[in-house]
Symmetry: C2
Subunit: 189 residues, 2 copies
C-alpha cells in the first residue's frame, strides 16, 4: 500500500541495523487518518470475505484494529496478555514467544467473545516470525471459529512469519513488506 510505504520511508527509523521504528505514526503516536486509509484498503482486499469480527492482541495492534472494526462495521476483540485471572476462568489461552523481548507470554480471549459462528480477520501492526499471529489463530481454532484472513501493516519479509502463514494456506495481506535493510535504507518487496 503506497501511502503506508511512503510514510515508512519518510518517518520510519532503522535502529540497531534491523529494528524498524514507526513510533511517530503507527505504534506509539498514531496517525488516525493513515489508519483510516489502511482500513479502506483492507476492506477492499477482503471484500469477498464475510468477516464479522476483528481480532488483535494488546497492545500496539489495538489502534489499527479499532479503525478496521469501524470500516468493517463489526466488533473488535483484543486478546489480553493475561495476568491475575482478570478474565475469569472461561477463556481460551495460548502461549506466544516474543521475538523482540526474547521471552514467552500467555494471551487469552474470553470464551463468550469468540465462537464457531465467527469469521475472523486477524489484524496486527508487525509480522516477523509470526508468533503472535499463530497464537491468535490457535485461539480462533480452539473456539472453532474461522480465520477469514490476516492483515498486517508491516511484514518483515526477511523473517519467516509471512512465508509460513502463506504456506499454511492462510489469506494473508501485508500492507507493506520490507524485503531488507540495505545501507541504512528500507527496501520494499
Amino acid at each position: 500500500m503506497k501511502l503506508l510505504e511512503e510514510k515508512i520511508l519518510n518517518e520510519g527509523i532503522i535502529a540497531d541495523g534491523s529494528i524498524l521504528r514507526v513510533d511517530t505514526f503507527l505504534n506509539h503516536q498514531v496517525d488516525v487518518n493513515l489508519l483510516k486509509a489502511m482500513a479502506e484498503d483492507a476492506k477492499e482486499y477482503f471484500r469477498n470475505e464475510e468477516i464479522n469480527k476483528i481480532l488483535t492482541v494488546e497492545a500496539s495492534g489495538i489502534a489499527i484494529a479499532t479503525v478496521f472494526a469501524q470500516e468493517f462495521d463489526v466488533p473488535l476483540v483484543f486478546a489480553k496478555k493475561s495476568k491475575a485471572g482478570n478474565l475469569g476462568d472461561e477463556k481460551y489461552t495460548t502461549s506466544v514467544k516474543s521475538y523482540t523481548y526474547k521471552n514467552e507470554y500467555e494471551i487469552a480471549v474470553a470464551k463468550k467473545l469468540i465462537g464457531k459462528e465467527d469469521n475472523v480477520l486477524i489484524v496486527d501492526d508487525f509480522l516477523a516470525e509470526g508468533n503472535a499471529v499463530y497464537g491468535l489463530i490457535d485461539i480462533v481454532e480452539k473456539a472453532e471459529g474461522n480465520v477469514s484472513g490476516i492483515c498486517i501493516a508491516v511484514e518483515k519479509g526477511f523473517q519467516n512469519g509471512g512465508r509460513n502463514l502463506r504456506a499454511d494456506g492462510y489469506k494473508l495481506y501485508s500492507q507493506s513488506i520490507i524485503e531488507k535493510f540495505e545501507d541504512g535504507q528500507i527496501i520494499f518487496r
Copy 2:
C-alpha cells in the same frame, strides 16, 4: 452519558462484589459505535479547549483514545509500559501503582512526541485511585505541555481518583460515574 450508562447496566458484570467487568463492549471486546458516540459526547464537552493531542496508556485505553483522536482530528499518543528500552533513551518516564494488580510499573512517552506546544486531552477507560492518570499528567508536565482535560469512560466514584483530580483543578469529565454497588446492582451518581 446515558448511552454508556445503559450499556453498563445491560452488559456490565459485577465480579467479586466490587470489580466491574465491561469486557463485552469496552475493554476486551469493543463496540466501536459506542466509542464513536462517546467521542462525540467528549468533543461537545471539551468544545472550548484547543486540544491538539490525545494521550492514553496501553493497553485498554487505546481503542477509546483512537476514536477520540479521529473525532478531535488530532494524533493519538499512547504511553508505553516500558521494557527492553525499545523507545531509546529519549523518553519521559514515570512510575504508576496498579490498584488492580497490586504492583508498580513504569510508563514512558518518547520526548519527540510531546512538548510545550501540546494541549493534551488524557483519555482512559477506568478511573479508580487515579494512579495511571496522575502518571500521564506527570509526563505531560515533564514535557512542559498543558493538560487541557481528562476524559474517562467509567469513574468509580467510591474511590479517590476523581475527587483528587477535581480538587487539584483538572478539568475532568467522566462519562459515567458509579456511586456504588448495592445488592449486586450498579448505582450511578
